[in-house]
Symmetry: C2
Subunit: 422 residues, 2 copies
C-alpha cells in the first residue's frame, strides 16, 4: 500500500489547504474587533484588500462605512464599502486621490470610534501621498530609485516612510484618538507588519537620520526637493512610543508562512512528513527549480537531507526574465525546469501554483510534473529546452494536459510549491 | 560559550576535510590492487588523472609502465608514468593521438597482467576515438550536438558510446584477458561509473537501438556518416555480460559526495549538526545562492527546515553567465548573491570554494561572507548590485579582504559550499 496513491490529488489537497488558510472569508472571522460605541470606519489598500473588504462587510453585524483601494482589475463587488482602483506597481493620480480620500475618512474620529485598516501587498504603491511641497512625480521618482538600488526592504521602507503623508504609521496617527485595528495579509518575507504596504498604521523606530544614512550608503539619487524634505524635521515620522499608537493593534490574518503551515498539517494528516524550506524563495523561476530538483534527487537516492517520503513546501515569489514569446508564468516555468532536473526519476511529483489562482496571463494557477513529464513532452513533439528558451511552458503543459486550473481563489500569498518524494 | 567561536576557521576546517577526502595521494592508498604476476600498465584520462598518476606511482612498489592524458596545463611531474596533454572540452588531434596510444598500450596484455585505469572528469573529451570510417571532426560534431540537445547525461552517454572506439567499456575489452582495475574520481551527479568520462572501462546495457531512439527523441542532428555508423552493427558496444568484463572492477576513490560526507563528519566533531543538501547543485551561481539564502533565513528565524545551529553543505558545479567585464568565478559570485540575501542578519556565515583551489581566473578558491559583508562593501565604496551585474565579485571580496586562497589542491570534485546558521 503506497503512502500516496494519487500524487496529483495529494498535492492538490495541499494547495487547497494553503489557499484556504489565506482566504479572508475564512481567516478574518478570527480577528473581528469588538463593536465600538461610536462609528466603525473601514479603510484599506492592497492587491487583496477588496476581497478583505467583501469578507469583512459580510462578517460585520453592525453599521459601517468604508473606502478601500485595490489594483486595477482587482475590485470585487461590495455592498457597504466603496472600492476604488489605482495603478500598481507605479503609482498614479487615482492612487494619490485614494490616499487623500482615506486620510479624509479618518479625520475627526473620536475615542469611541473604530478604524479597521485592511492592508495587503501592493498597498504602498496604491497609496502615494507626497508630503506638503512634494509632488506625485517626486514620490514616483523615490520609488523608482529605491527599487533600483538593491537595498533590503527594511532600508527601502525607512526611506519611503520619510517621504509620505500616510506611510510609517501616519494613517493610524491621523485616526487618533480612535481605536485602530489593522488586519494584514502579508506578502513580505518575515511578515513584519511595518513593512507590509510600508506600514500605514504601523510605526517603526527608524529616523530620518537613518533614512539619510541609507541614501548615502546605497548612493540613491533622489530629486533635490525630496532631499530637502528628508533633511528637514517635517519629514519626521511618528515614533512607536507616540501616545497616538497606544490604542493601535495589528494582526497578520494571512501569510505565506501560515499557508505553508496549513499545507504542512494537511500533508502530515495524509501520512507524509512535510518540510518547509522557506516562505520567501525569490529569484529566477527556472533556477530555483534547479536547486530544488537537486535536493529532490538527493532525497530520492540518498534519503538526505530529509528521509522520504517527504514533501518539500516553499513559498515566495520567483520571477521570469522574459526572453521568448511564449505563454507561461513563474510557476509553469519553475515546473518545466524542475521536470528537466528530475527527468526519468520515479517517485518525484510536484505542483507549483500561484495562490491567487492565476500564473501569468492564462487561466491556470500552475501545473504538475513528475519523472515522466519530459518524456511525455518529447512524445508530444515538444523539445523542452526550446520551450523553456521561448518562455512557453504554458503551451507545453497544456499540450500534455498537466495544467492546474482551480480558478481565481480570491486571495494572494504568492506562490505555493510542493515537491513530493516517495 | 558559543558553539562556533571562529566561523571562518570552522568553515575552513570543513573545506580542508572535503579536499582531503578527494586527495588522490590519500585516497588511492585504500584502493591499490594486488601486484600481478605479469606486467602492470597504467593508463588514464581526465582533468585529475595526472595527480592520480603521480600519487599512484609513488604508492606502487612494483614495476609499472604507463601513459595518462590530462587537460592542457594540468600535467604534474611523474617519474614513471608518461603524462600527455590534450584539449578540453572540445577534443583535438592530441587527444585523438592519446586515445590511440592508450589502446596500443593495452594491446597484447595477457591474463597475468594488470591494467590500472585512472579516470576522472573530462576524460571523455580528452579521449576522442572515432571508429573506423569516421573522423575526429565527426566526433566533435557529435559532442557539440549532444551538449546542445538538453538530454540528460545518461542519454548523451548512450549516444557517445556508439560513436567511439574506446568508450562504453571498449578500453577494458581491448585489455582482455588482463585484470582491469579502474580507479575513478567522480564529477558526475550520482557517481555512476559508466558515466564518468563516458566509461571507457565500464560497459552499460544500452544498445544502439537505444541510441537511435534518443537521437530521434531529442531531435539530435548528426552527420550522415555518423548516422550510417550508428545504424550498423559495427556500432554495437560490448554488453556488460560479455566475458571480457569478468575480470574488470572499478572503485570510486573520490567524489563530491565523499567529500561532503567528510566535511559533515568534521562539522559533527565540532558540535555542529551538518546537512547535505545535494552533491550536484547546478545552474546559475547567483540564483542558487538565492534559494540557499532564503533557507538560511528560514532556519535563522524559524528554526526550520533544520534546527540551528546547523551547517548546510552542498556540492556540484554552478555556472556564471558572463555579462560584465569584472573578475570572479562561480564561488565568489554565489557568495556575493548570498551576502545580499542575508544582509544584516546576524548568525549566518558561509564559505564557497572550488575544491581544486581555483575559482575562475584569479588565485583564490572562493571566499567568505556573513551578515555584515554587504555593509562592509558599501563602506568600501562598492555597490554590491553593480558589482554583481559586472561579474566582478572577486574585486569586491579582494577589497574587503574576504577571499579564500588555499592554493591549488591537486584534486577536483567540483565546488564546495558551507552555509553556517548559528
Amino acid at each position: 500500500m503506497p503512502v500516496v496513491n494519487d500524487p496529483k490529488a495529494f498535492l492538490t489537497s495541499l494547495f487547497d489547504a494553503a489557499v484556504s488558510a489565506a482566504n479572508p472569508a475564512r481567516t478574518l472571522a478570527g480577528f473581528l474587533p469588538e463593536a465600538p460605541k461610536g462609528k466603525t470606519v473601514i479603510v484599506g489598500a492592497g492587491k487583496g484588500s477588496a476581497q478583505m473588504a467583501q469578507a469583512f462587510e459580510r462578517l460585520w453585524d453592525g453599521p459601517l462605512t468604508g473606502y478601500v483601494v485595490t489594483r486595477y482589475g482587482f475590485a470585487v463587488p461590495c455592498e457597504r464599502i466603496e472600492i476604488a482602483e489605482a495603478a500598481h506597481p507605479v503609482p498614479d493620480q487615482a492612487g494619490f486621490e485614494a490616499a487623500q480620500r482615506i486620510l479624509s475618512e479618518v479625520q475627526g474620529l473620536n475615542e469611541d470610534d473604530l478604524l479597521v485598516a485592511l492592508i495587503s501587498g501592493g498597498g504602498s504603491a496604491l497609496l502615494p501621498c507626497p508630503p506638503d511641497g512634494l509632488t506625485l512625480e517626486d514620490e514616483i521618482a523615490v520609488n523608482s530609485a529605491l527599487l533600483a538600488c538593491g537595498a533590503p526592504i527594511s532600508a527601502m521602507n525607512t526611506v519611503r516612510k520619510h517621504v509620505s503623508g500616510i506611510k510609517g504609521g501616519r494613517l493610524a496617527a491621523a485616526a487618533y484618538p480612535a481605536k485602530v485595528v489593522s488586519l494584514l495579509v502579508s506578502d513580505i518575507p518575515g511578515d513584519h507588519p511595518q513593512f507590509i504596504a510600508s506600514g500605514p498604521t504601523v510605526p517603526d523606530a527608524a529616523t530620518r537620520e537613518d533614512a539619510l544614512r541609507i541614501i548615502r550608503q546605497y548612493r540613491i539619487d533622489l530629486p533635490k526637493s525630496v532631499m530637502a524634505h528628508i533633511s528637514s524635521s517635517a519629514a519626521d515620522a511618528p515614533h512607536p512610543d507616540d501616545p497616538a499608537f497606544a490604542n493601535v493593534e495589528h494582526h497578520i490574518v494571512a501569510s505565506a508562512a501560515k499557508s505553508l503551515e496549513s499545507a504542512a498539517e494537511m500533508a502530515r494528516q495524509s501520512g507524509v512528513e512535510p518540510v518547509i524550506l522557506s516562505d520567501a524563495i525569490e529569484g529566477e523561476s527556472r533556477e530555483a527549480a534547479r536547486t530544488q530538483g537537486a535536493m529532490a534527487r538527493e532525497i530520492l537516492h540518498k534519503n538526505r537531507p530529509f528521509p522520504k517520503p517527504v514533501v518539500m513546501l516553499s513559498g515566495g515569489e520567483t520571477t521570469v526574465t522574459i526572453k521568448g514569446k511564449g505563454k507561461g508564468g513563474p510557476n509553469t516555468e519553475f515546473l518545466l525546469s524542475l521536470a528537466m532536473e528530475v527527468s526519468s526519476e520515479s517517485g518525484i511529483h510536484a505542483l507549483s501554483a500561484d495562490t491567487d489562482g492565476i500564473d501569468g496571463s492564462e487561466d491556470n494557477a500552475g501545473g504538475f510534473i513528475n519523472g515522466e513529464t519530459i518524456a511525455r513532452m518529447h512524445e508530444a513533439g515538444l523539445d523542452p529546452a526550446t520551450v523553456l528558451a521561448n518562455n512557453d511552458a504554458w503551451t507545453a503543459f497544456n499540450q500534455i494536459g498537466e495544467l492546474f486550473v482551480p480558478g481565481p481563489t480570491g486571495t494572494n500569498v504568492n506562490d505555493f510549491r510542493a515537491v513530493l518524494i516517495l
